[in-house]
């Protein structure tokens, strides 16, 4: 049972082979900063974690949250403020940001699960807009200027995170932890109940599962991990701005997940990589970035709904190797 349900099993791989593939990727992550500009890789890691957390809802529970930027941004602001003004140690600042997003997720999720389907998306979008307006108006967020010059601090009070490699390995560690947590959630009995809700909610309900509680818990986990990504992002870039709470960001994470392959373990990370590479190349073209992002969105929805990883899995099923 547990073997058949492991990630790679959908392609017919043995558990050993799946483990080997993950180990290979983990090692690749260790040498990556020597080959590519580390700050870019860290940005990809943050967004990959963000999208993976989002995928837990969209891909595995079937809930489209259109307000996930709220969790990314709220945690980012709280962490930034805690490090800069209150002088918190780095780890504690990140934990605080994550906790705030979890609480926020409890509030927003609790309201949104009262309606299903497309209303869920509209409610999360609206409530995230409240967070955006708060970020614009409150004093500690710095309004349009955002938070600047957030100190990275020292890891456990010993290792300074100002060096680019130290920061990278710390960020990589946080990413791996978050990714592992999501992986475990997906493949736990809890994750299977989530998928049954996605497939057929009335049946899950009739089997005796308290569907609303499962949805809410999935929402809180997803919000907390999105917050973790946001906190990490603030530490990496040493700043936090309104971009992270804007609804454009909520749309971007949907795009990453869709493009990579929703409901797949690796999809959101692949999608995050693609979107960020694209944005990096287009950064000199002003509004054309938005236009091209929109075109990719439209094409993805019309002709590429399985995403890159989804297509790859389908291909690997057809031609096993």
């Amino acid at each position: 049972m547990s073997v058949a349900l492991r990630a790679g099993a959908s392609v017919g791989w043995t558990p050993g082979r799946v483990r080997l593939a993950f180990a290979g990727m983990a090692v690749a992550g260790l040498v990556l900063p020597y080959l590519v500009y580390p700050v870019f890789v860290m940005n990809v890691l943050c967004m990959a974690l963000f999208a993976s957390a989002f995928n837990l809802l969209l891909g595995y529970t079937g809930l489209l949250s259109f307000g996930h930027a709220a969790f990314l941004g709220a945690a980012g602001y709280v962490t930034g403020h805690a490090l800069k003004v209150w002088g918190f140690p780095t780890e504690l600042g990140i934990l605080l940001g994550t906790a705030v997003s979890a609480v926020l997720g409890f509030a927003i999720g609790g309201l949104a699960i009262r309606r299903s389907g497309i209303y869920f998306a509209m409610i999360t979008l609206g409530l995230a807009q409240v967070v955006y307006f708060l970020a614009v108006q409150m004093n500690f967020t710095g309004g349009d200027d955002g938070l600047q010059g957030v100190p990275r601090g020292k890891l456990l009070g010993l290792v300074s995170l100002d060096g680019k490699y130290a920061m990278y390995y710390f960020a990589y560690g946080v990413f791996l932890f978050g990714f592992w947590l999501i992986y475990r959630t997906i493949h736990s009995p809890f994750g299977h109940v989530l998928r049954s809700i996605r497939e057929n909610e009335p049946r899950a309900l009739s089997l005796g599962y308290d569907v609303d509680r499962y949805k809410l818990l999935a929402f809180v986990i997803s919000a907390a991990l999105a917050g973790l990504a946001g906190s990490l992002k603030t530490v990496v870039f040493q700043s936090e701005t309104l971009t992270d709470v804007h609804w454009h960001m909520s749309g971007e994470v949907v795009l990453m997940t869709l493009l990579g392959g929703m409901g797949t373990v690796m999809g959101p990370s692949v999608g995050a990589l693609i979107v960020l590479v694209l944005q990096n190349y287009l950064s000199g073209f002003g509004s054309w970035v938005t236009v091209i992002t929109g075109v990719v969105f439209v094409v993805g929805v019309l002709a590429f709904r399985r995403g890159f990883v989804g297509e790859a899995i389908a291909l690997a099923k057809k031609f096993p190797f």
Partner: protein
């Protein structure tokens, strides 16, 4: 007192736009099962068509009031024929995502061409000036907007509830397959419905042009509020969405007078309260 009535008037005007837009959203959602995120972009395009027509072709407000909805409605028909059509039968999440992508494309293009500063659009000559009432000053154009918006909403409601065409539309919303079996061309009806919804949004855009500044972001900020309006009212009822739109505009106006800091979020707070007390929405039937 002057200020209070001024804010109330502004609230009623905002509410008129909420009503016009949520009406279009409800009609499109009813028949196409698509939540049209692009509604705000279509509204923005309506305003821009009017502005471009005036600034580069010298075409005034009154022709624009017909021209802009026609142009945007045509674009809506093209969008439905080439894209939305492929999503029928799929989870309606995809419709939201597609129209979101379209919004990015449209807004990005306008942003690229016209920048993000607001472009003023003059009030037409006939409606210049205003009336001094005992308790406030009423600009004629604003009175015109409220009257026309309410009239258009009422006409739509009447068409849908009381005419043969409206009965097709309502039947198509309930059960498209059966209506098709009776010989009604449902795909054509869907195309025209989306075109009409787009035209309605553009019409609202032209009406809005002299009041708000014409800029590429004017639509998407509005559409998020209109979504909240739709959640509060429930999309099942046409009259419900009109009343909710107007009512929330007034609530917003009052908030702007009594506690200005909360005016941009009050609609979402009302949404949260409604979700707690009446999860199905004020006029909604099912979950």
């Amino acid at each position: 007192m002057q200020a209070l009535f001024g804010q109330l008037l502004l609230g009623v005007i905002n509410g008129s736009f909420y009503a016009l837009l949520s009406l279009g959203l409800a009609i499109i959602f009813g028949l196409l099962d698509i939540v049209n995120f692009a509604h705000g972009a279509l509204y923005m395009m309506g305003a821009f068509v009017a502005w471009i027509a005036l600034s580069s072709l010298g075409i005034g407000y009154w022709p624009a009031l017909l021209l802009a909805p026609a142009a945007v409605g045509l674009l809506g028909i093209v969008i439905e024929r080439t894209m939305l059509r492929r999503l029928y039968g799929l989870d309606n999440v995809y419709g939201l995502l597609l129209t979101f992508g379209l919004t990015l494309v449209i807004e990005g293009l306008f942003h690229e061409h016209y920048g993000n500063s607001g472009n003023p659009y003059p009030v037409p000559d006939v409606l210049q000036g205003g009336v001094r009432l005992p308790f406030m000053y009423l600009p004629q154009y604003r009175a015109w907007v409220v009257v026309v918006a309410v009239a258009v909403c009422f006409a739509c409601w009447l068409t849908i509830e009381r005419t043969k065409l409206g009965s097709y539309l309502r039947a198509g919303t309930e059960n498209p397959k059966l209506v098709q079996a009776f010989g009604v061309n449902v795909p054509l009806m869907r195309t025209l419905t989306y075109g009409f919804g787009a035209a309605l949004a553009a019409f609202a855009g032209v009406m809005a042009a002299p009041i708000y500044q014409v800029n590429p972001a004017m639509g998407s900020n509005l559409v998020i509020i209109v979504f909240a309006v739709v959640v509060i009212g429930g999309m099942g009822s046409i009259l419900g969405s009109i009343l909710t739109g107007l009512g929330l505009g007034i609530v917003e106006g009052l908030t702007r007078y009594f506690y200005p800091a909360a005016s941009s979020v009050v609609v979402f707070f009302v949404m949260a309260i409604v979700l707690l007390l009446r999860p199905a929405g004020l006029f909604g039937r099912q979950r």
